[in-house]
Amino acid sequence: MEWINVLVQGVLLGGLYALFAAGLSLMFGVMRFINIAHGDFIVVAAYLMLVMVLTLGLHPVIGIGLVVILMGCAGYLGQRFLLNRVLDEDILPPVLVTFGLSIIIQNSLLETFSADSQRVPSGDFATASLRVSDELAVGVLPLAMFLAAVGVIGVLQFIFYRTALGRLLRATSDDPEIVPLMGANNSHIFALATALASGVVAIAGTMLAMKTNFDPTIGPSRLLFAFEAVIIGGMGNIWGTLAGGIILGVAQAIGAQIDAGYQILAGHLAFLAVLIVRPKGLFAKAKG
């Protein structure tokens, strides 16, 4: 029974990791762009949520909405006016620029909010739980977050495969040189992709803020979790990313059950194991 509990906690945690991963995967898919500051953006969203709820006293749902809008706009502008300028075959400039952003964000947050650990209160929601049996209880908040994560990934899937924007994003992923010959502006499409990814990052960050304690330095490890979920699930497969997040979450939960010090290590080892056995990921699309 104890192990079932561990498994359930791991799966629920995996939903959050899948959200971390979805934004990263989207940007890489469309632009072959890896954002080293991805985890720091998640933390920025968490702090924005803190300001919305604690400083401005807004309802959490309104807070989430505003953070999504803010992050989406910032993502659009940042891509259009900064990141687009360093996008090309050479991977060093984007890596360096986002590395620089990561340092700037971490230290700006330290300067503004101090190094203290923070958490956004979510009222009774945080402690309520559903009793499945005598020994198994599922927290309402983690469950709601998991369902929200699945919902967000479903929406992304819908946008990608059922809308004109999604068509453009997939076309850009295939052959960015030809897309302008269809009358579409690459800079705009890239910026839209980042805006979309930033919206997902915003949701992930606000959830992180309500679920656990956070401080300005936790961004890089969120980047690594996101990255691991993407690779485990297989690139270019949104549902695979969800599966990757869940596998990572379960591995971490099992590790933590053995010894608190093993939680993160177990996740990393699961990732390395997948990398050794199936470098393309467990659920990679057949096409190369």
């Binding site: 080293i36 400039p93 620029v97 590395f99 620089g100 340092i103 700037i104 230290n107 010090g261 990398l275």
Partner: protein, 336 residues
Amino acid sequence: MAQLDLLSTSRGPDVTRLALIGVGLIVFVALAAAPFWAGRADLRLLMEALSFLALAQMWNLLAGYTGLISVGQQAYVGLGGYLFFALAMFAGIPVLWAIPLAAIAAGIIAIPTGWIAFRLQGAYFAIGTWVIAEVFRLIAAQFPALGGGSGISLPVALARSIAETRGGREMVMYYIAFVLAAGAVLAVWLLLRSRWGLALTAIRDSEPAAASLGVNIRRVKFFVYVGTAMGTALTGAFIFLQKLRITPEAAFSVTEWSTFVIFIVVIGGLGTIEGPIIGVILFFLLRDLAADLGTWYLIGLGALAIAVMLIDRRGIWGAFRARGLPTLFVTQRTLK
């Protein structure tokens, strides 16, 4: 003066270049004689700068010539440090022998590690190496004998075994740092002038072209990966000998051993031997000037790295060279 002969091959006398070589030689001699003129604090600062120069040259060789962007070289700084502590404290190996042995052991570990990391390409490789460094850090924290998560200090007796007096120890330590840095510069330079250098330069300029010339790109990259891992571990072993204390956080710090090193190389000029030298000088000057600014200094450093990418991604040395400044370390024979 063998140094002068090496430096002046293949190009005719050129006033600027001769001036540059002159400055380089003066700095070299001044550094070689530092224990005789520098104070204790200055010497420590120089040792740190020289260690960073060695790390920067290794990263430069890896990223600048093979295009392998690693954000995980702290794996080898930490590994070098921990292996050195383990060899010196538990295997009873004399301290000065434990440093190169730690580097060799790290090189052996780098072979399977590289095999895994090479399953990822491009930016994925960058983050993959970071994950691997984190794994090393977490594993290091699991060894109670090495202090676990809180780290361990080098016994005083071992430090004393280098030299009896404090002054003597500092002298020995300084010359290790000096040899490390000069050795790293010389090693990269000689490598680039060798037949391997031709392959590396070809890979840097165009991988498809290099492949069509029969260069086994994967093998060259792998050798360079393992080689730079050893160089990095060698420096790491020395750094923690100097610090006399090692913790997982300090040994595998991404900020210290990746962020700073990468910024040094890129701001100075990636893919040149002079770039990391310029970068280290600038980095330590800025750090000295901005010591009181704390986080703002780091924010400024991040902004500077972004600015270099936006304005001229070749870095300071690359930008100067494109405007006609001659090379100090000639690595290729020009056909003109």
